[in-house]
């Protein structure tokens, strides 16, 4: 039974003593006040938390930025671990570079360049810090934007992370912040394109194997893979991404994404041609002439997807 001595300074019955107890901070403040009062009056009012020395609280961190703008350009190998090493470098040398470019297609510049080597353990440390200091959603956001077509995405990702390290979890709610909004917009753009592509992929049957070509702006293969794998669990299929020169291959129940320079599909069989013709015919029949509205069609199905879509290829 909780005795009178178990009553906390704030009046709560039990003292759990856990560091993350939401009453603890309040108690400590009260305790400190009581101690001060006791020191003045000379009486001991140190009741319940006797022997529990209040832990020293870390000094509130000054809100000065983690990194200061510097006239330097980072070059990295273009991989995600490579990017994390750039974050490491930026934080530990307290500098916010002008740009971060993959070394392969970096434009010539007069600014000082720093070649950032990729080291797995540094990358691992940075990656692990994101969910710990910000949130799991922030890590997902950064890794999604890495696959997006956002221009100068690396510097946007770095700025977001630096802000996140300072503000913590709430950074994901700061939808209107100049360092957060472009990240969310890029994520939305990628998500939107991935959703459209779920419908716009057109397979052809090549002797039992389904093959399709796409040319999206964002690298969306990892985002559409699970959908097609669950939908065509019994089939073998291949989706070739022409823009990013990669392919999603699913055969005998196993999926993988591999780099691929190009692909030549075999000639379509007679049955395949017949189904293609029927699909085109269906597509042309289903439209109502009295309601014709090409603008509306283009809004929903932008022309850049048409080259890979059987029914509208001919209209280009």
């Amino acid at each position: 039974m909780p005795g009178k001595s178990d009553v906390m300074p704030c009046g709560r019955r039990t003292y759990c003593g856990r560091a993350n107890c939401r009453h603890t901070a309040h108690c400590r403040k009260l305790e400190a006040q009581q101690e001060q009062a006791a020191a003045k009056s000379g009486a001991d009012v140190h009741g319940p938390a006797q022997g529990r020395a209040p832990r020293p609280r870390p000094a509130p961190s000054p809100k000065k930025p983690l990194a200061r703008p510097a006239d330097v350009v980072y070059l990295y190998d273009g991989s995600l671990p490579g990017f994390y090493c750039c974050v490491y470098e930026s934080v530990y040398s307290h500098e916010l570079p002008l740009a971060i470019w993959p070394e392969d297609d970096a434009p010539p510049t007069l600014f000082r360049q720093k070649l950032i080597a990729t080291e797995q353990d540094k990358a691992e440390r940075v990656r692990a810090s994101v969910p710990k200091k910000i949130s799991a959603a922030a890590l997902e956001l950064v890794e999604t934007v890495y696959l997006s077509c956002l221009a100068e995405k690396e510097i946007a990702m770095l700025r977001f992370l630096l802000l996140g390290y300072q503000r913590g979890r709430p950074v994901m709610q700061m939808l209107g912040h100049a360092d957060v909004a472009p990240m969310l917009a890029a994520q939305k753009h990628l998500g939107g394109e991935a959703h459209l592509l779920l419908g716009f992929v057109r397979f052809s049957d090549y002797d039992g194997v389904l093959g399709a070509t796409i040319s999206p702006k964002n690298f969306i293969l990892p985002f559409i893979a699970s959908h097609f794998v669950s939908r065509y669990a019994q089939e073998d299929f291949l989706i070739y991404d022409k823009t990013h020169k990669a392919a999603l291959i699913y055969e005998q129940g196993r999926q993988r994404i591999v780099p691929m320079e190009g692909i030549v599909f075999p000639k379509a069989s007679e049955a395949e041609e017949a189904y293609r013709a029927m699909w085109k015919q269906f597509y042309n029949t289903i439209s109502i002439e009295a309601r014709e509205n090409p603008r509306c069609r283009m809004t929903h199905m932008p022309k850049r997807y048409w080259e890979n879509m059987l029914e509208v290829q001919d209209l280009l």
Partner: protein, 445 residues
Amino acid sequence: MDLMDKLTILADGAKYDAACTSSGADRPGGGGLGSTIAAGCCHSFSADGRCVSLLKVLMSNNCIYDCKYCVNRSSNDIARTSFTPEELAELTIEFYRRNYIEGLFLSSGVLRNPDYTMEQMIRALEIIRYKYDFWGYIHAKTIPGASPDLIWRLGLVADRLSVNIELPSEDSLSRLAPAKTRKAILRPMAQIAAGRQQNTRELAHYKHAPTFAGAGQATQMIIGASPESDYSILRLAEGLYGRYELKRVFYSAYIPVVEDSLLPSVETKPPLLREHRLYQADFLLRQYRFVADEILSEEAPNFNPYLDPKCNWAIHNMHLFPVDVNTASQATLLRVPGIGPLSAKRIVAARKTGRLGMPELKKIGVVLKRAQYFITTADNPTGLHTGREATVRALIDPGVYSAGMEQLSLFGPPGMGLPALPGPGDVATVAQAAEEVVACLAKAM
């Protein structure tokens, strides 16, 4: 007749059905062929801008009924054909494998009698579901007058069922579709609603109980073939949503396909703007917590052609505005013209980390074109002080002067002393009319 010809005829007969949604069922692949996504998935968009999600065909266009408005009426001289269940099943599966479609939307003319037609449809769907182990989306249209046990069987193989209410009133129905009665349409609707409720309870107890019409039911009515007001149509829709728990009511602008003395003439353009307004109002009912009586009334029974229903409601309720985006509840934000469910949600999330001004709203993706006249923000605590006329000018739907050169309602002017829409091509009249409308609406504010 080969499959290509059949497909052409039977897709042509089905194209006037408005719905082609594949939403409401969330079923990841189960090892067989196919899966469904809750949000639905559009696979293409036809030249009229409508989503092509499902293979929308008729089982047969050989119809014994003679509904005046229908292209498949028995007295119309067109080619007739039917799919066999096997043909249809194979076609669906082959289209689905190539990712052309999200599933099948099956409707039919009444072949011999309602029960025989339903049996044919059920056979086709059972082949697709059980022989090909198909897990994709199926939307089936029940045939009016079919027996209840067939409707039950259809619901076991389809995700969504629909019963077309066809026309907005009993009176129009008896004039234009003499073989169909209001009662025969509402009975299956009630049966499906009750069946779904019972099925939900069963599924709570028995995990493997068969699912009956898991994605709910929908309906469709034709707008502009009969004289009902927009108010009565909206009241009807509201009643259907409440009583039969419908997922959607679709409105289909009447496109004259046959000449008949009881119908608008063949030259009549389809009332697309009116249909658009009905869909806008329908969204207000379903997602914005409006009731029909707030949108329209006995005194103003038709939509304002110049303003969307939400703007129209707002300018007649200016005493409720402006609202403060930093304090207003989500429900209040939803009533601001230009702010939708997503924007409202984002505003509520974003304002937790700081007060919002116009630039922040812009960055989080709120479209301010209309909303700016109805809100106060951190950097603009008293709201915009533009005149009434400037507000109205910004709210007027630009579509009304381009696509909307048509008769909004067959029976009656827009009301509220508004001028009728100007004729097409007359630019001077349009500019003049726009000014007149602005003045008139500003006065009403």
